[in-house]
């Protein structure tokens, strides 16, 4: 039997990994994957809490997150491809044209 606290700890670990990935890496695709990691960490907590409270709210919300994440992936990947076409690079530091 795995305790809810253990699920939550795993979720926290995954989330922290995602945050570090976004902050530390320059490759847009890796940053993108890190964001997915964070989203799914949140999904894990939602499902865990749903189990704890014995209702389905959290699970339904997790589905919503997945759907939004899928939509976000479409737009995000399209943006990355289009940036790559312009700059021949997927490094986010190269796309700084709006710098003040």
């Amino acid at each position: 039997m795995i305790l809810p606290a253990q699920y939550l700890a795993l979720a926290g670990l995954l989330f922290a990994t995602g945050v570090v990935g976004v902050l530390a890496r320059r490759n847009a695709i890796v940053m993108f994957m890190s964001i997915e990691l964070m989203l799914n960490a949140v999904n894990l907590t939602l499902v865990t809490f749903a189990r704890m409270h014995g209702n389905l709210d959290g699970q339904v919300l997790a589905f919503f997150v997945m759907i939004v994440a899928a939509a976000e992936a479409v737009v995000g990947l399209a943006l990355i491809v289009s940036i790559f076409r312009r700059t021949k690079s997927v490094s986010v530091d190269d796309a700084g044209e709006l710098r003040g």
Binding site: V19, V22, L23, R26, M31, V92, D93, A95, G96, E97, L98, R99, G100
Partner: protein
Amino acid sequence: MSAPIFEAAWLVPALPLLGAAILLFAGKRMSKAAGGLATVMMAGSFSVGLWIFFELLSMPAAERLHTSTLYTFIKAGTFEVALDYRIDPLSVLMILVVTGVGSLIHLYSIGYMRGDERESRFFAYMNLFAFSMLLLVMANNMLIMYVGWELVGLSSYLLIGFWFERPAASTAAKKAFITNRVGDVGFALGIMLIFVHFGTLDFSRVLSEAGALGTGAATAIALLLFAGAAGKSAQIPLHVWLPDAMEGPTPVSALIHAATMVTAGVYMVGRAHPIFAQSPVAMDVVAWIGLATALLAAFIAFTQDDIKRVLAYSTVSQLGFMFLALGVGATSAAIFHLFTHAFFKALMFLGAGSVMHGSNDETDITKMGGLGRAMPWTAATFVIGWFAIIGVPGFSGFFSKDQILAGVYGSGGTILWVGALVATFGTGFYMSRLVFLTFFGPSRAPEGVRAHESPAVMVWPLALLAVAAAGAGWFGATVHGGGFHRFVAPSVCAAHDPAHVAEQPRVQTCTVDAATGEVHPLEREGGAGELVLGSVATAAGVAGLGAAGFMYLGGFPWQRRRERPTLVWKASRNKFFVDEVYQFLFTGVGKAVAATAAFVVDRRVIDGTVSRLAHGVGALSVVGRKLQTGMVRTYAVGVLGGVVALGVLLVARAR
């Protein structure tokens, strides 16, 4: 009991309004018939006016008042203004003058304006003017009167500036409009003050309750109303617009600046006489300004060479006479002079138009002379007008001017009376000078200019007006018994008790005949004294004639004297530099104020504030733009920081 025609009296202003509307919208397609249509409308209006007049005459004197309400115009709390009209002797008289003289002037204009490219618009404006004036004189409350008053100002602007291609005409139109506005502000304030004190603007109540007004309030109201009257009727210090208004077509000068518009002020003060009668100060102001205007304008007219300008100053001077009469409480005589003046001055203006028409648009009387032979009809009718204005016994001006002088003498104002005599002498001089230089003596016209008589459509109105100018005086030959005075008496009397005349020498007092109910204005100077007064007044006018005859027919070298002008001559010639003073005082100071506003207030203060604000925002943004690094991960840190801060806040609050 009211006659059915009284209920249809709205036709009087409505017909010219209809004419104006038709001509404005469809005038282009009927340019040949435009003058005819406008004249027919005026004549129709005159016919209705005549019908009303005879109906009124058949009623007992005490019942000659009728008011009708067409609809309620404004209603707000206790403030209620209805579009209504008032038929009483004074308003009917004004209707007859406006539509009667107006019809003749319209008829004359058909000949005068023939071939003008905007003929139909001219007649539309003329009809619009007649409508405005009729609205003014028929109104039964101050606000509707004010509406008519302002419409008169508007249509006079349109007519004076009718030939707007000429800069002088458009400038004169603006001058007239703006000068009138100055007076109108006073009039508007006066109306407001009337509402404050009476709670209504209705004439019937305002005039009957005027006796209860305190002296201070009466003085304030009367002076404000007089400011409006001075603007419309060209009294000092607002007289400057009228001579310039001669830039308009000559029939306009005759209609507006002789017969109707300028008499609006006299009518208004006469109508409000019960208010003025409460305030000796206001009466004094009216009388002295009237006298000053009469003298000043007569003196300026001595040296003017433009035929229409002489007549314009003559009008200003005659209006001064009317205000002098109003100021001494001889209201009935003032209205009578208004009546006779409308005929003889319209006649002379139209005569001047005929002279210009027949002599190649020449207006300089020093280049005329001997025109009597070339245009006998114009000359003969003009001479009748001349006799009327200088007061040759038997002609209309003789009676009316005589009654004004008698009224002034009877009110105890000896200085005023002497001044008026001098002005009478002046009238005799400048009018005779005008007539002698224009119609008599040798011709001074340049070679090749041959004067000719005007067409019949222009001569006929002259002839009809000449008959009126010669004979109109007999309607009111004496103040006490004259039919004219008995007719208007119920409208202009402020007091009905002769016993108080000694205390109130400056109030138009009337007596009521117990047997017939007829109202008689009280005559101030009766008996043998009247003959002496009349003789002196006539002698003054004839002396002016004699002096002018000596100077301009008797071989006096007036042309050579001009080469060495005296100071007095220059002052008169330049209209006492009033225009220049106004130019300096108002235009100059106004320009300085405007320059200060534009280059100091606007450019420094307002623009300065705005641009300093912009610079401040710019400087702030130099700092602010540093936040925008262009590094996505910096932003991500920001987002993370925000989330952490929110989380900490939530946890802290939950505790």
